[in-house]
Symmetry: C4
Subunit: 207 residues, 4 copies
């Protein structure tokens, strides 16, 4: 069993360690999203002016919710993949580091959408960030499962394929969102919220 | 035992993983509170001006303390609930993600109260954040325990009910705080500090 | 064994959980210190102006180092205490929450010292933060060990007393620092760096 | 077995605890890098102006990528070293605390490079940060392995030497980068990206 022995002898971070770093980066990225909600410096301190400022940030609140939910979905997928992934190797490790790089980028992408409101460039930048994350998650899974490289040698191929189908939902929805952004940037990011809804349907559902 | 087997076969994050992510988000939210304490840009750098600025931030310090204590209470409750919760399912997972979304929002809500001082809108925004958190914690517990869905099948119903009573303290105190804010916003948030005090009393106390 | 059974039946966070939250808050507070090093907005982008700005921040770098080292000392002490503390109760839990509140405050106290340079108020504010932390660590240990409340019933009293002596170093050095600050605020915070040096000496050393 | 018993009796943080704090600080430092990407305040909110601002930040994006990758390399090395390090002592603990101090400094060093663009002082400051980190990692390993101080007494010396060779790559590349910066600061930091490439080659590769 060369795969297993590689894992035992190697001094690469274990999958448990990768999960710990990932949990940390997910938690921080999700919490840093709130920094985008900073109110503009108040000129007068009345209830009316505060109420006006808060309602003026409605779009920012929506961005906060959507980014938080998307990061949560990626976090859930991360655990679903590592539920089956038992080993790591150098290439797999670097796929994961690039995944984390784009996870940590999400607060910045969110801030662009928030600061610029209805703006096709901002929407596409944000969708592209999610798109790349989707592709990296797909790459992570395909790399780990092809020839059962990093998973149990008898892992059922139906589980492998179902998970590919499920992960593919994200890039496809991102591409649709980008296309709609080009036509009309008004609330096009709402489309991304269809990701968790689509995943509930049978062909994409985790049993 | 379908419940147990669901847990073993499923690739949902384990409750241990949810706790790890939650601990991370609680720790970061609690530490980010300190960013609200930033002093205004100093014009002169004398001891007197610094002293004046620090005392001018007394209200912000109070907000820091109250938010830190409230988050600590929710963190304690989180562990109390997960002490009994043994499994998770998709709905339960999403209740928890929304809980974390409102935990991560607390530094922002705190900054609103701080920047606007005595202001009914800010106080109600902050209380509403805590109120929603209270309801989500209640929902988490009721969902997990109804029909012993995610807890041990022989968990004593007195423990379940006692915990419902205990968790209900938070939304009730929040509603009182919001009502008092409408009448008089001066220091109405002090009322929230009664939450840990009430919880010490017998009917709400954890044995 | 009432002590042990209390621990098993209770739904208070375990000491393992308190340690996890504490590790998180220590890690974040230590890393947030770096935010105090932000350079002022550059007017011209030459090597000379950057060099001047960096040397102008020498005092801030010193503050970064001292705060990082002090937090590291508290983190080490935290683990030394929890090496022996086996249980928790409500009072002990709240001592720890207040400890974490003042740990999370350190980046703010550091920023005050940095922004105001040589200033007796800033130095005393910072020393007071460390002083309170020292007292809370002392309280944590005294509470946990008096009558062997939360430690092994046969824990050697020499270990208990040695640790009290060791922990007392911090408040005493803080009081000296505050006194020196009143006389001369120039570099008085250097005195705090004597804490790790004193701890190396036999009567305070951990075996 | 004095080594083992030292570890059991001591109340120093365990290597597991040091790894937990380190994972936290690495995760936060890697995520804080994104704060350097903040866009300048927008004057007009058009797609063109946003696009211009984003392309104007291309250099900042490059800095983000390079810092993230370097921190990831150090994180991997950290685990490789602690794969073999089984105990800790006071000196080793302090080497690690200084390592973490310079890990937490990386977001600041990155911000200097970003804000000042092509500037020899910024490039050298950044390279010096990485250089010191490289030396501290080397010191950590040499201290732990000389006389098998903190590692298994029968750890193969070929593993020890291979790891010294591997760790030495970083300071050497940093010194080259600093020399090139002095001659020509244009994109000299690209040279740092050769670190992961060099490590793939046989004499430096982890088996």
């Amino acid at each position: 069993m060369p795969g297993l022995s590689t894992d035992e002898n190697s001094s690469l971070p274990t999958t448990r360690r990768i999960e710990a770093l990932s949990d940390g980066i997910f938690a921080i990225a999700m919490t840093l999203l709130v920094l985008n909600l900073a109110l503009p410096q108040a000129i007068e301190h009345t209830s009316q002016s505060l109420l006006k400022m808060l309602t003026g940030q409605l779009y920012d609140f929506f961005d906060y919710v959507i980014s938080f939910i998307l990061l949560a979905i990626f976090w859930i997928m991360h655990h679903q993949q590592f539920h089956y992934i038992q080993r790591t190797d150098t290439k797999h490790l670097w796929i994961n580091i690039f995944m984390l790089m784009f996870v940590a980028l999400v607060p910045f992408s969110t801030s662009i959408v928030g600061d610029y409101g209805v703006n096709v460039v901002g929407d596409i930048f944000f969708s592209a960030n999610i798109l790349i994350l989707g592709f990296l998650f797909l790459a992570n899974w395909v790399y780990a499962t092809s020839n059962h490289r990093l998973v149990r040698h008898n892992l059922d191929s139906s589980i492998i394929n179902q998970s590919i189908r499920r992960t593919s939902v994200i890039p496809i929805v991102c591409l649709v969102t980008m296309a709609v952004s080009l036509l009309s940037p008004y609330w096009s990011l709402w489309i991304l919220l269809s990701i968790p809804l689509i995943m509930i349907f049978k062909p994409f559902r985790k049993v």
